[in-house]
């Protein structure tokens, strides 16, 4: 139990550290640093996670892995819903996103929500990048503990 909380504290501190350091330069709220930290973390974590895993058959199988095993290792629960149009767009819905459940239960503080999802966006992008899928990940928060991640696979 205690280790779960400590990760949440670490994440909160990470957010406030990154924001305070960008605020010093008088720049508007810059989340790219936070996203990049997530990217490099995801890139490294996935190397460890897929060690005992057989080779992935296709993109969809990779996404399923992200939604279940990868998500569980980070958020202690799998994604609630995965949707795809089979043309490179995937939508991951988490009804109680770990970093948002402590913040609010309604639309209150909605304006600060992007700060708390940027790290996870990067995490997903990094994990997919190391598995050979280049993507663009954005998050959407409409009502607080729920969060939706849009993954757009870039095909060249």
């Amino acid at each position: 139990m205690a280790d779960e909380v400590s990760f949440e504290f670490l994440h909160t501190e990470l957010v406030s550290y990154v924001l305070s350091s960008t605020e010093k330069d008088k720049k508007p709220c810059d989340l790219s640093t936070l996203e990049y930290i997530g990217f490099s973390a995801g890139y490294r974590i996935i190397e460890r996670q897929t060690k005992e895993w057989p080779r992935f058959k296709d993109e969809l199988e990779t996404m399923k892995f992200i939604c279940t095993d990868f998500w569980t290792s980070i958020n202690k629960k799998p994604v609630d819903n995965l949707r795809t149009n089979h043309q490179g767009v995937y939508v991951l819905q988490d009804n109680a996103f770990r970093f948002l459940t402590r913040l609010s239960n309604s639309r209150q503080y909605l304006e600060v929500a992007p700060r708390y999802v940027a790290f996870t966006c990067g995490l997903i992008r990094g994990a997919l990048a190391n598995l050979g899928i280049n993507s663009m990940v954005t998050a959407e928060v409409q009502s607080m503990p729920a969060c939706r991640f849009h993954i757009q696979v870039q095909r060249t």
Binding site: S40, R44, I46, E47, R48, K51, R55, K57, G132
Partner: protein, 139 residues
């Protein structure tokens, strides 16, 4: 006993190569390079025959008079190549498998080091020493 261990990156560039006899390093560079085509072939044929197991260990890639060459590809497309002397008949498939598993564990430790930039050649001393001991002691 393995005579050479190599780590090849996503883009088929050598990230790490270590041989028991440093004088023969160039020869092993050629051998490892040749084996990459076989790796590619095995990976693409695995996509067609969906029935078979998609294991990370690829098994024997090819053998010459002096050497046998084994391959392993991670989910992140990092290739491990191990060259064994053909004269060594004691080495079983299972032992090669454990050797690869240990290599993979070592490699993940290197990647999880925040000072290592993914894609760079591996310069970790610990990695080098442990690979050497794997080569000599077999497991």
């Amino acid at each position: 006993m393995a005579v050479c261990v190599a780590v090849i990156g996503k883009d088929n560039s050598p990230k790490f190569i270590s041989c028991l006899n440093p004088e023969l390093e160039l020869q092993f560079h050629y051998k490892v390079h040749t084996s990459l085509d076989v790796v590619e072939e095995k990976l693409s044929s695995a996509g067609i025959n969906t029935g078979d197991v998609r294991e990370l260990y690829l098994g024997l890639l090819y053998s010459t008079e002096e050497h046998k060459i084994f391959g392993y590809v991670t989910n992140t497309k990092i290739k491990f190549i191990v060259v064994v002397e053909s004269a060594n008949t004691l080495l079983r498939d299972n032992e090669v498998r454990t050797m690869f598993r240990r290599l993979h564990n070592l490699y993940t430790d290197v990647v999880c080091n925040p000072f290592y930039i993914p894609g760079d050649p591996i310069t970790s001393k610990n990695f080098d020493d442990t690979v050497k001991s794997i080569m000599v002691n077999n497991i």
